[in-house]
Amino acid sequence: MNDFLQPILNLAEPLTSALLALLVVLAIAWLRGRPWTARARRGAFVLVVALFFAVYYLVRGTAAGARWLAAMNTPFAAVFLTVVLPAMHLPRNKWYRLFLVWPVLLVAIAVVSVVDAYRAVPGNARGFHWILVRPVWLIAGVTATLVLIQPLLRLATFRRVVRGTCLVVLVYGGFALRQSYDDYQAMLARRKDAVQDMMLLSETSPVMQHDDRLAYLPSAPCRFTADGGYVQGCNLEMIQRLMQVNLGAVGRRDPSAIGALSIILGALVVFLVFCFATGRAACGWLCPLSTLGDVLNWFRVRLGLPHYKPAQPVKLAALFSGIGLGSIALAMAKAYPHLDAEGKFAGCKIPLYPFCKICPSQQVCPVAAHGVSAYAGLPTWDWGFGFFRAACMALLAFFALGFIASRRLWCRLCPMGMIAGLFNRGGMFRLAKDAGKCNQCGVCADVCPMDIDMVRSEMTDENVSSFDCVLCLKCVEKCPRDECLSIEHAGAKVAESQYQP
C-alpha cells in the first residue's frame, strides 16, 4: 500500500510542513479581519497555500533546502491542517458534512494500514501483536475519529475522551502501537537489554523515531513510558538535547554534530509553531501526566472533599520553583559534553538528562504503563551531591499532593507547559468574555482547575486569556449565561457558553 501512496505523499509533502501550519493560521486570522467577500477570502487563502506549495517545491529541489525543510516536517502538521483546523473553523452546514468524508477516509486508511502490517507478519509468527500501524496513519486516524464523534458529545465528555485517548496513545503507544511487526519484535528484544539503573538510562526508542526527525509535543508526553512512548518526549527533553550539542564540534563542522543540531532546531521550530497555533491547549487536552494526576484528583472528588485553593504567594512560589529547577537542570545538561571520564563535571556527578531524573513523570509514567514492577527507583544520593534525590522526592511529593489535595497545582510548576503558556495571550487561541452578559456569579472561578480568578473579575477587557490557563474550557462549559464566555481560534468562535437546561 505504501508504494501506491508514495507519489501522492511526495506531492502532498508540503502539507506536513509546520511552516505551512503557521502560514495557514496566520492567513485565517488575517483574512477574517478583511472586509472582503467570502469568495475573495477563499481565493486569497487558496492563493497563499498554492504559493507556499510552489516555494516549497523550489526549495526542496536544492540539497540544503531539502534538508532544512525535512527537519520541520511532521505528520502532526498535516493532520492539524486537514482535520483539526477545518473542524474548528468550518461552519456546521452541508459543506461540513462533505468535509467529514475526509476524516472517514483517514480512518479507513488507518485500518487498512493495520491490516497491511498484519499481512506482512511472517506466517510462523501470526498472532496478536497489538496494533501495528504507521505513525502518520495512527495520528490521522485517531484525530479523525475524535473529530467525527465530537458533535455527538457534550464538551465535558468530549474532553474526557480526548484526554483518555491521548493518555493511551502517548503512554501505552510504546508497546502497543509500534510501526510494524519488525518494529514490535525489536521493541521486545530491547526489553532484554533494559538498563537497570534509571540514572544511566539515556536512550529510549519511541515509536516515532525513524525518519531522522524528532517529534515533540507541547506539555508532558514523557519519553520514559514503556518502551519509549509514542513521541520523542516533552519539550524539556528537546531543550536538554539542545544543551547537550557540542557547539565546538559544530564550529569545526563535524557532520554528526551539525546533523544533531539541525534535527533539534527543526524540532524546536515545529514545537514553537504548535505552541503558537494552539497555546497551552496541549496541557488541558493532551498531557498524559495531568490525566494521570487527575486520576488521583478523582478520589478527592468522589469523597466530596473540597480542594485546596492556593493563595497568590503559593502560586508564585510554584511558578518560580519550576523555572528555577528547570534552569538548574538545563544548566547541568549544558555541562554534559564536558564531563570527565568518571562522568563528573567539577566533581559533580551528572546524568545525561538531568531534568528527566528529577521530573515526577519518569517516576510515574513507567508505573502507569507497565505496573509497579517497572518502577525505576529514586536517584541515589551520590548524584549531583544529593540534588537529584532531593529534588526528585520533592517534585514527586508536590505532584502527588498537588493533584490529590488541589486540582492542578502541579501545572503551575511544570516547566513543560510554561513555554506554551507564553503563547496563551498573543497566540491563536483567545478566551473572550462579554462582560455585559456576566452576572458575576463566580462559577467560572469556582470550577477552574488552575484557580484563575481573572475570568470572573475582568469586566473591561474582552480578552481574558492568561499564562496559567490550560484551555480546558470548564469555565465556558459551566457559565450559565449564553455567549458570555467563548474560546476563539484565529478569530473564529470555536465554543461559547450556553445555558444547559
Partner: protein, 207 residues
Amino acid sequence: MRTGRFLCGLLSLFFGVAALAAETADLRLLPAPDRFFEAAAESAPNTAPPEGEVLAFGLFNDPRLSVTGIDRIAVMTRDGTQIPLAVEKDSVFYEFDRIVSLRFYFLVDADLADDAEAGLALSWGEDVAASNSEVEKVILDPEARSRIRAFQWGNADLAGPADTQIADIQVIADSSAGYYFLWYLLPMAIIFALLTIRKLAVRRASE
C-alpha cells in the same frame, strides 16, 4: 511589488546553492600519519599498495558533500582520467538519505604522487559518474608506510594533523551551505516576533 522582490531575492539565494551541482576540490598528498597504522596493531593488515603505486587514504567530509551514492564521487587526474575509489563500507555516514562523510582510498602511480603539480582533484555531485567499489574495514600495512599517503583537501583541521611538506596551501572558501542549520533560527525569530507584536496589540486593546 515589494514582497515580490523579496521573494525573488530569497529564491535566488537557494538557486545559487542549487547551481553548485558538481563541486571540485584540489587534492594533495601528505605522508601518512601514525594513526593510520593503529588498526594494524590489533588485526592483520589487509591493504597495501602494489609495487610502483602509492595508496592515498583518508576521510572526506567536506560540508558541501551531499550525494546520493558512492558513485557520485570521483578522483581525477589533470588530464581527466578517473581513478577508481575503494570506499570503506562502514564509514559512509548518511544524513537524510545523502552521504555526507566517508573514508576511501585510491591508488596512483608513484611518480604522480610525489609530483606537486600532479593536479589531482576530487570531484563530487549528482552529475558525476564514477565506478567505485566498496571494501570492508581498511587496515593499512605498516610495512608499506613509505608508499601510503594521506590525502588532504581544503581545510587542514578536518583532515587531521599532518606534516606540512607542501609549499603552497590552496584554501577553498567555505560555502555557507554548511551552516544551513542556522536557517532554523529564521522561522523561530518570525514566531517570536509575531508573538511579541500580537501581545503588544492585546495590551493596546485592553487599555
